[in-house]
């Protein structure tokens, strides 16, 4: 039996624009006093109308371009209708059949291409707080988050392991941060993950697929990995028991319990909502001009993968390059590039020193680099002479060593280093010390 998981990912990213998606309220809602950043529009008061935020649109296009999407010349918003107390208007303004960006891809390090189906713009909802007030269980609504710009990135089901899913997520996360549209802080809920999982089972009976499962609202990469792994296992077992195959009517939605490390059923297709999408009549359709897209494209910085390969081209080791890029150490990356033409500095060593915390790129780089990379004295003959002198002066310690107290070797290394005023190469020195003591 051959088992191939099929994993797709929906990623929601809150944009860090100054104002909300459709009104002038501040978009930064984290930790603010409830309902202090609201207005008629994001409260859905009678008569209020949405006016789209152009900066958010630009950010959405940036994400699309960074994920190699094509930008749709004609686009529009739609209303997605459902009832929930945190949804002020009774509908969410989203995009249905004409998203801003579609048909992109992202390359994994293995070279595998993960398809991006669409990148679209929508608005966040308010937040419910279940709490106890005067001894009574109540649910409170905070509308500070209502209307915060949200971008949804939908991949194709091209990932076949939780490891690939994790790599994809990390890359998306790095790209979002690199292009500066959001810090995508998972703990603040700025990035939320929804894997869709099923499994292709191939055996003598043929090729069959297990029913699709969407796992809702996961807020860490590790939980996503755990949920996907649990789900793959569960689906294979379930299939072996029931033999139920994927159909157009049996998609289910599950939640993930990070304590028990299991997914659990939330709703079946029969209970699935009919969102009654229709074009948002309050916002005219968008005609996105070619030169606008070009301008946005030009504003994009080098993307993480591009930055890594440019560092690698300078000789920097892949692991160091990845660390520098993923920690967004722009100063260091700049300095490595700046000194790449300088014969006195080797980019590979410079990167390694920075990554290992030995060299602070804010310091006088050349001087520190030369200090740190100065090659010590490796002349074994010279070092032997020095060490023999110390051994003669400390016969008791030599005897201790030979009696098994090998730690005293350190004393000889230290003394020798002192006498050579630190010019001895540490590695050669300790080798010579041990050689002599062991004789």
């Amino acid at each position: 039996m051959n088992i191939t998981p099929l994993i797709g990912l929906e990623v929601h990213v809150e944009l860090e624009t100054k104002s909300k998606m459709f009104c002038g309220c501040p978009a930064d809602h984290f930790g603010k006093v409830p309902n202090t950043q609201t207005c008629p529009v994001c409260l859905g008061l009678p008569g209020a109308l949405p006016v789209p935020n152009k900066k958010a649109l630009e950010s959405c296009l940036k994400i699309g371009l960074a994920l190699n999407c094509s930008i749709n010349r004609l686009s529009k918003f739609d209303r997605k209708q459902y009832f929930y107390p945190d949804l002020a208007k009774g509908y969410q303004i989203s995009q249905y059949d004409q998203p801003f960006c579609s048909e992109g891809f992202l390359n994994l390090d293995s070279g595998k291409k993960i398809g991006i189906e669409r990148v679209h713009q929508e608005e966040d909802t308010g937040k419910l707080q279940h709490t106890v007030l005067n001894g009574e269980k109540v649910t409170l609504v905070d509308f500070n988050r209502s209307g915060v710009p949200l971008v949804e990135i939908v991949s194709k089901p091209d990932m076949s392991s939780s490891a690939e899913a994790k790599e994809y997520l990390k890359k998306v996360h790095e790209i979002i941060r690199a292009i500066g549209v959001s810090s995508a802080d998972m703990e603040k809920g700025q990035m939320r993950l929804e894997p869709t999982v099923n499994v292709c089972i191939e055996n003598e009976a043929g090729i069959r697929y297990t029913p699709l499962v969407e796992i809702k609202n996961i807020n860490s990469f590790n939980f996503a990995v755990q949920a996907i792994e649990f789900e793959i296992k569960r689906q294979v077992e379930d299939f072996e028991k029931t033999g139920v195959e994927k159909s157009s009517t049996n998609k289910t939605t599950r939640g993930y319990d990070s304590v028990k490390k299991v997914t659990f059923l939330q709703r079946t297709k029969e209970e699935a909502k009919d969102y009654r999408y229709f074009p948002e009549p309050d916002i005219p359709p968008f005609i996105i001009e070619e030169d606008f897209v070009e301008k946005i494209g030009k504003e994009l910085p080098l993307l993480p993968d591009q930055e890594i390969s440019s560092l690698k081209n300078l000789g920097v080791e892949r692991k160091d390059a990845k660390i520098l890029v993923s920690t967004q150490n722009q100063v260091a990356i700049q300095i490595i590039h700046d000194y790449s033409d300088d014969d006195r500095i080797e980019s590979k060593k410079l990167a390694s020193l920075i990554v290992n915390g030995k060299l602070d790129p804010a310091e006088h780089v050349l001087v520190r680099y030369q200090e740190l990379t100065k090659v010590g004295n490796t002349d074994r003959g010279e070092l032997e002479k020095v060490i023999q002198g110390i051994m003669l002066a400390n016969p008791v310690l030599v005897a201790d060593f030979k009696g098994g107290k090998i730690a005293v070797a350190g004393f000889f290394v230290g003394q020798a280093m002192k006498e050579t005023k630190g010019t001895a190469d540490p590695k050669t020195l300790s080798e010579v010390v041990l050689d002599l003591l062991n004789k």
Binding site: G47, L49, Q81, F83, D282
Partner: protein
Amino acid sequence: MKQLHELTIKEVHEGYRSKSFSCVDLVKHFLSRIEKYNPKLNVFLALNPNAIAQAAAIDKEIAEKGIDRELLGIPMAIKDNFLTIGISTTASSHILEGYMPQYESSVTSKLLAAGAIFLGKTNMDSFAHGSSTETSDFGPTHNPWNPDKLPGGSSGGSAAAVSAQLATAALGSETAGSIRQPAAWCGVTGFKPTYGRAGRYGCIAMASSTDSPGPIAKTVADAALVAKVISGQDPFDATTSPAPVENYPTFLNNKDLKGVKIGMVKEYLLTDMRDDVKKLILDAAEKFRSLGAIVEEVSLMDPKYAIGVYTVVQRSEVSSNLARFDGIRFGHTRDSFCEETKRRIMLGTYTLSSGYYDAYYKKAQAVRTKMIDQFAEIFKTYDAVIGAVSPGPALSLGATKNQPMFGEMEDILVEQSSVAGLTSAGVPCGFVDGLPIGLQITCDQFQESKALMIADCYQRNTDFQQFPDIDKTL
């Protein structure tokens, strides 16, 4: 000499300048008329508690600076779907009973900035769902020409307020006929600007893609001035146009209509239309000819298709727009929606449901595009098209009972132009059975000046703009 309530905007300003009366005098005069007649007409749902104080402030301003604002001291009646700070706003629905708005609508803000005084909020079909004002949760408004008759709707309160002279001018809103039809039934002037000409922010949404705020007034000249004040790009309404607003009043007072080409829509002379109504429209065509215009018969799509398109699009948008009245906020539960509103929510929910969307909503939008194209073709040759506003005069109270498509049948002649987002003036063109009949003069998008110019010329050369003697009719 004219009494205070009979004065047009211009005449009120002349009175202020000559110190014949003060703004407080005028406001008090209207308030006492309202006190006297409102119990019989049910025009106002709420009065502005600060009207007299505001009038006093305006008198002071006039004394100090003269009249340098376009609507300074003009008492107006405001349809109850416009949010007004300090005056409760309900859209004539129980679900919003007692609701005090948190903000001022864009168009009422503009009216206030121009110096207008709001007397109060006028009755309407609940959430503007109708053409009778009979679906109001607060009882029907009565037609000042005959209290047994309907005023039309949905801006029935605003039209009746102008007709009964309980305000100098009024603000209404039209989604499909809601300004022109009640203006026609009450025998006053109504003007629907192009969709996107005046901002909708703070106007409780009915059908977002056709809602258009506009004036109801005693004359085209007054309507032109109010229209100018409320028009222009609204930073809070993404569907408003950035095109500059023409100074409409300066386009009026043409001595004739030489060079104007008017199309008389053949299909608007419905086969089952009363002959005396048809005759008034043909008389109007003759009048335009006598004023120098060329009038020719033109053909449009059968107006019955507009009903289909409008019903689907409007119900769909209604079902969505009313979702915010979720029964959690605003103080009342969803069973406070009236029958008509519930009917519309259900129909709209159905037409947007998966599997039906393509068959209804998408098809309706496709036909809508066809209508827009057809009008565009006609306006290549003609400056305006004319026809009756309504197939007949005001119907009796109770006519809407068991008639879920009542509004659509009464609005058959105005729905096309609404669906196409055009601008249109409605002016009285005669009487049948002692009740007024209205004529619509419809022009291409953003041709407000032209529609007003033609309507004004017609109105000054006819004497159909009359007001009932409500001491006798009531």
